[in-house]
């Protein structure tokens, strides 16, 4: 775990209103695993830090992906090159991608694309072939950077690829990784209990102290999205108790 003042290096738009920020954060870039996140703080900004999955790394840089969903994310998107953002990370317990399975489906809805580029990289390094199934409401909301050995697009309105949800477009594979709205992940859990899913919660500290990011477990009780999570075996989460309305990436 590192605490760095990272310079904002670059920004690009990858779907309508969806941006990737690139930050100079060497120690985090060199140690982060797929599914882990960073807790970002900036000034002037909200009181609490905000959690973001690490989207990609590029040398000493980490990338995060976001939309303007509230005051805080709007502030982040208004920043310019060389502005400083405090990065705490890498945090949490990421995806398990050991050699063994022959194929994996990465299933992402909207901003749930966030942890998938790193997952794809680690899967390939483990000799696992990657099918990326990426869904959004319409073609202009699809992240243009989705890639894999095979890419399947899904849109609710049928404007590109499969007409319907990403979940319903997933082909037969040895394992499934998913990230997206909690409603989507609940559907994943019904179909693939052993899928690894990255969940969304409100978060306080990001380091396991405040117990604010409680994830209800199917066996009863709670644990912490920031420490034991954010990646869970899909059937281990008590989905009916997680707020379904949270969009991926907590609004600021």
């Amino acid at each position: 775990m590192f605490l760095l003042d990272a310079a904002l290096v670059a920004r690009r738009e990858v779907a309508r209103g969806m941006f990737v920020l690139s930050l100079d954060a060497p120690q985090i870039a060199n140690s982060v695993r797929a599914g882990q996140f960073v807790n970002l703080g900036w000034s002037p900004g909200p009181l609490l830090r905000r959690p973001f999955s690490v989207y990609r790394t590029d040398g000493d840089r980490i990338e995060v992906i976001l939309k303007a969903v509230g005051a805080g994310t709007s502030q982040l998107l208004a920043m310019t090159a060389r502005d400083t953002i405090s990065c705490l990370g890498p945090l949490g317990h990421g995806f398990e991608l050991s050699p063994g399975p022959r194929s994996v489906a990465l299933v992402s809805g909207g901003l749930g694309v966030a942890p998938m580029p790193l997952a794809a990289r680690e899967a390939r390094a483990a000799g696992i072939s990657v099918t990326w199934v990426h869904g959004a409401r319409s073609v202009d909301e699809l992240c243009s950077e989705a890639d894999g050995d095979e890419v399947i697009w899904a849109t609710d309105d049928g404007s590109r690829g499969f007409a319907g949800t990403a979940v319903s477009a997933v082909p037969e594979t040895d394992m499934v990784l998913a990230c997206g709205p909690n409603r989507m992940l609940a559907a994943v859990a019904m179909r693939w209990p052993d899928a690894q899913v990255a969940v969304e919660t409100y978060m306080g500290c990001g380091t396991g102290v405040c117990l604010g990011c409680a994830v209800p477990l199917a066996r009863g009780g709670y644990d912490r999205a920031c420490k034991e999570g954010p990646v869970y075996r899909a059937a281990d989460v008590e989905w009916s108790m997680l707020p379904a309305h949270l969009a991926y990436a907590v609004s600021a």
């Binding site: 775990m1 605490l3 703080g41 909200p46 009181l47 609490l48 830090r49 705490l88 919660t201 409100y202 978060m203 306080g204 500290c205 990001g206 380091t207 396991g208 102290v209 405040c210 117990l211 604010g212 990011c213 409680a214 994830v215 209800p216 009863g220 009780g221 709670y222 420490k227 108790m241 997680l242 707020p243 309305h245 600021a252």
Partner: protein, 300 residues
């Protein structure tokens, strides 16, 4: 910078507030060199699962939380954490909670003499089940009864953490002092509520939560000051401290020490920053020690 607080000599006046430092074992980044003492996450006799999500909501300059006192219970604390605390170079006080005065007493008796447990901070912001769910902290007799129940079972320092949700904090402060408290922590969070306009429901699953952060600081400075005026035991100021200037306000207003809470979530090194900033202020203003800092504390 060392201070005497209710039976303990602390190496500095900046303490970690209950619930914001966990059990002190979670975060390698948290700086301990400047830590005067740590108050543990609140503990009950038995393990508690805590409240359903959402448990945390940000509000303007503040944070509303309803964690529901999730914890391992006293036996889990003794097994998993106290042995580590016994090795540390600063004292750890256990924040204790109960639904009856007797439960507080039992907790103190069980923890008394356990290596690593230097003392107690009584959380009186708990519902008193025996008296119909009213809070111990709102009633001077109930607050005194809890303090006395703990006092009778331990010789270790006993601090009482006061709730701000009262008409006259001085009355509660004096009741706790008379019942044997060695120091007072002032204050706990304010009870607040936030509504989601999409669902038209409370945003926290528990409906209400405790408000902390800079939003409450002036209220907290005033209440800590009122408590300090009312008693002769030390008062530890708490409420929205994020920098040294904030802490100095509490110290000048009559507090002997301070606790830093929510700020630690944002800045893992907040306690060290506050500690160093106080030292710099004292030096630049020509005070040789914290004891020399003039206090604004007119007596009632």
């Amino acid at each position: 910078m060392s201070v005497e607080i209710g039976g303990l000599t602390l190496r500095g006046p900046v303490l970690a507030a209950s619930g914001t430092f966990g059990y002190g074992t979670e975060v390698p980044l948290l700086e301990r060199r400047a830590l005067g003492a740590m108050v543990s996450k609140g503990i009950f006799l038995r393990p508690r699962a805590g409240a359903p999500p959402p448990r945390i909501i940000e509000t303007p300059s503040g944070m509303l939380n309803a964690i529901g006192l999730q914890g391992p219970g006293v036996e889990g604390l003794i097994r998993d954490y106290a042995p580590q605390w016994a090795q540390w170079d600063f004292p750890v006080l256990v924040n204790i909670n109960g639904e009856t005065a007797a439960e507080y007493g039992e907790l103190a008796a069980r923890l008394d003499g356990v290596p690593g447990v230097a003392g107690f901070e009584i959380n009186i912001s708990c519902p008193n089940v025996e008296q119909g769910g009213l809070y111990f902290g709102n009633d001077p007799r109930a607050a005194a009864a809890v303090t006395e129940a703990v006092r009778k079972r331990t010789d270790r320092p006993v601090w009482v953490k006061l709730t701000p949700m009262v008409t006259d904090i001085g009355v509660i402060a004096r009741a706790c002092e008379a019942a044997g408290a060695d120091a007072l922590s002032a204050i706990n969070t304010f009870v607040g509520m936030s509504i989601d306009l999409n669902t038209r429901q409370p945003r926290l699953s528990f409906r209400t939560g405790g408000l902390s952060g800079p939003a409450i600081r002036p209220l907290a400075v005033h209440l800590a000051h009122q408590a300090a005026r009312a008693v002769s035991i030390p008062v530890i100021g708490i409420g929205g401290i994020t920098g040294a200037d904030d802490a100095l306000e509490f110290l000048v207003a009559g507090c002997a020490a301070v606790q830093v809470g929510t700020a630690t979530f944002v800045k893992p090194r907040a306690i060290a920053e506050v500690h160093d900033g106080i030292a710099a202020y004292l030096a630049s203003h020509g005070f040789a020690s914290l004891a020399e800092l003039p206090r604004y504390l007119p007596r009632d």
